[in-house]
């Protein structure tokens, strides 16, 4: 019985004028979006390789004097995410690199710099197509599956038989979804073939697993929207009403709720920009450095006041014996204070961001679409998780460079009471070829799933709730 219904729904959908339209949209747009984004990815990879090579050459040629002069900036580049062919996410808005100096790090420019206004506004990628086009079509397909048959009277004809309503409903969902899913699957596979022709590393590492997760999650996402459509259809008795209701539900889920969630989160927990934070940090560094210099100058003047000529240069003079530990102590304390306060700023900033993100995530759980987009972006390495990993990597790289490089150079700047300044350096040798390399450890699949627990639960609820709702409605549906 169930199979009879499934087959009928499948055929009915395929015979409808909507079906070829959908098939063409899928088979054309999905592979096309992948091909286009693959080309963009390939370009980013080329840029990345070039820049890393240049940066490596520059790093190898670092001279201790450069560090002393404070003109050295070490750059750490982020490798473009291959799976950005599915979803752009933050791919082009994240800084391409960070710059590391003695006084901390700051973000470099992002890849959006060489894009046009249109491409920044309307990125068409696989996830966009699924969210904006396929989901809508899925809902439209479902919109008249119950109310339309009631209107045409075929629902009565069917239910005049010994046909349980739950069988009918699940058969409708099964058949209708299959009719959507098969063209979608073909389009996806076709896209994968296109990617492989473009020498995309589809088999490398856990890429294949991630692609399968994308396929699975997307399939379930389409099923969710299809079932929501059915649920709307069982709540209305006219196909026309269903259509209007579906457009409203769709707009709310796709366009309004996710954006509203983000906007509310922004209002409730405003967060400074990263540039503002860098500015705050450099102001702090400057004022701390000045304070240290003043302190050093004061102590120096105190000790060397009235000291014999040359006492400052003679390591064995009593003044030097007194001065050296005091200077070291001041500098050590200053370094500690600086790093404490800098990481406090970073920490506060991260917390602000986390708080905002948390609220945005929670609010957006109201829409399956937002949860889906977050999840897929994380699976593809272009989401919040990647951003967090990037920052994490940047912070630990800064620490590594502090240890291996910046601490090898000691700069002593003194400001004297009278307004005079003096500077002295001491440096240990640095082997530039042994400097740590900047790498971002990507989130593992397990980590990604765990970090997205809330989104996944939301998606699951959104998958089950419309089923339950449609079922409850349909059992009592007035078929006359």
């Amino acid at each position: 019985m169930w199979r009879t219904i499934v087959k009928k729904e499948l055929l009915e959908t395929i015979f409808s004028y909507r079906f070829p339209l959908f098939a063409v949209i899928c088979l054309l747009l999905v592979p096309l979006s992948m091909a286009v984004n693959q080309a963009a990815y390939a370009k980013r990879v080329r840029d990345y390789s070039d820049q890393v090579r240049l940066a490596d050459e520059a790093a190898a040629a670092i001279k201790i004097q450069d560090i002393m002069a404070g003109t050295v900036a070490i750059r750490g580049f982020r490798r473009p995410a291959p799976l950005s062919v599915f979803t752009q996410g933050f791919e082009s808005t994240l800084p391409r690199y960070y710059e590391f100096t003695q006084d901390g790090f700051k973000p470099g420019e992002s890849a959006t710099d060489d894009e046009t206004i249109l491409s920044v506004q309307g990125k068409v990628d696989f996830v966009f197509l699924v969210q904006m086009v396929i989901s809508l079509i899925a809902m439209l397909f479902a919109s008249d599956m119950v109310s339309g048959e009631k209107e045409s009277g075929t629902l009565r004809a069917m239910l005049a038989n010994s046909l349980p309503r739950d069988t009918l409903l699940s058969g409708k969902i099964g058949g209708g979804f299959l009719a959507l899913w098969v063209p979608f699957l073909l389009a996806f596979l076709f896209g994968a073939v296109v990617l492989m022709f473009g020498a995309f590393p589809l088999a490398g590492g856990d890429t294949a697993v991630r692609v399968l997760i994308v396929l699975l999650a997307t399939s379930l996402f389409i099923l969710t929207y299809f079932t929501i459509g059915i649920a709307v259809s069982t709540s209305t008795s006219k196909a026309r009403t269903s259509l209007v209701a579906i457009l409203i539900v769709w707009a709310a889920f796709q366009l309004i709720v996710p954006r509203l969630g983000d906007m509310i989160a922004r209002l409730a927990h405003p967060v400074r920009t990263e540039t503002q934070v860098s500015l705050q940090k450099s102001l702090l560094v400057r004022s701390l450095d000045a304070e240290t210099a003043k302190e050093l100058g004061r102590q120096y003047d105190l000790i060397f006041k009235g000291a014999p000529e040359g006492a400052a240069d003679n390591e064995n003079s009593p003044e030097r014996k007194k001065w050296d530990p005091i200077r070291d102590d001041i500098q050590n304390r200053a370094r500690e204070t600086k790093s404490q306060q800098l990481s406090a700023i970073d920490e506060t900033y991260l917390q602000e961001r986390r708080r905002q993100l948390d609220l945005a995530v929670n609010l957006s759980l109201v829409s399956p679409s937002a949860a889906f987009a977050r999840f897929i972006a994380d699976v593809c390495g272009t989401g919040e998780l990647e951003r967090a990993k990037y920052v994490e990597a940047v912070r630990s790289h800064q620490m590594a460079l502090d240890n291996e490089l910046f601490s090898k150079v000691k700069r002593t700047l003194m400001m004297h009471e009278g307004g005079g300044m003096s500077m002295s350096f001491s440096a240990q040798p640095v082997d530039a070829s042994k400097l740590p390399r900047f790498t971002i450890t990507p989130a593992t699949v397990a980590e990604t799933l765990k970090a997205n627990a809330r989104s996944l639960i939301s998606l699951l609820v959104w998958l089950i709730a419309p089923f339950a709702f449609a079922y409850a409605k349909f059992v009592k549906y007035d078929v006359r």
Partner: protein, 248 residues
């Protein structure tokens, strides 16, 4: 036992709609195997309501209806195994061919092993033109749809057949063909309950004729009783006494 013989049976069946309209008032009615029962009555008399109750589309307010001895409101799925239904406007899937429609509904009716030839035979029996067998039903005329609807009922081969105004809108030839098929069903021993506005055909085909008014069965006559009566006259008489309490 009479109640085991009746394939279709309404027992004190009443229906009051949510808006308070008493559409059916303690209806008692039986249709035996090999019997055609014609239900007459003005618009709004409660004929469709009766059929909807038999199909379990709406729950009765009181009383019950039985198909093949099974209480419809207790076990609708089991009861519906024994009934075929032809609605006033037979509704089909426009993008399917006549045979595909037939195949789909036959399977719903529990007939899963039928062949193409079985379908062709059924469609020939209702005298649907051959060239329409494998055409999409989108552009079928009302008469063609009606024929296909009856073919669906024939294929299901259930002991009870419910028809709601099956001849409305049919041309005289199609209506005559329809009556022939009904007669065949009777010969096969089916219990047929048919609502209609067509007094003359009711007299011609009905083994029993009932007249409904405001939810009540106000008159019932067998074929023999009707033989010497003018049904048209009877009908109008019963309708005209609308103001007074009806005596059944």
């Amino acid at each position: 036992m009479a109640e085991h013989q009746a394939i279709l049976k309404a027992d004190g069946l009443s229906k009051r709609y949510e808006d308070g309209v008493l559409a059916l008032d303690r209806l008692n009615l039986e249709v035996q195997p090999g019997e055609i029962y014609c239900l007459l009555g003005a618009n709004g008399a409660g004929k469709t309501t009766t059929i909807n109750l038999f199909l379990g589309f709406i729950p009765p307010t009181s009383g019950s209806c039985f198909i093949n001895g099974i209480d419809v409101s207790k076990d609708p799925l089991e009861a519906k195994k024994y009934v075929s239904f032809v609605s006033e406007n037979v509704m089909l899937y426009g993008n399917f061919t006549a045979r595909q429609n037939l195949d789909f509904f036959a399977r719903l009716g529990g007939k899963t092993a039928l062949t193409k030839d079985d379908y062709y035979r059924a469609m020939r029996r209702v005298s649907l033109q051959e060239k329409a067998f494998d055409q999409r039903v989108k552009n079928f005329s009302k008469g063609m749809r009606q024929k296909l609807g009856i073919a669906i009922a024939i294929v299901k081969d259930a002991p009870a057949v419910l028809l709601d105004e099956p001849t409305s809108g049919l041309d005289p030839k199609a209506a005559a063909e329809f009556l022939d098929i009904m007669a065949e069903l009777r010969t096969e021993g089916k219990a047929v309950l048919m609502s209609t506005h067509d007094i003359f055909r009711a007299k011609e085909i009905g083994d029993r004729v009932g007249i409904m008014r405001e939810g009540r069965l106000v008159m019932e006559r067998t074929r023999d009783e009707l033989h010497n009566e003018d049904l048209n006259r009877l009908y109008i008489d019963y309708m005209e006494s609308a103001g007074q309490p009806a005596s059944a």
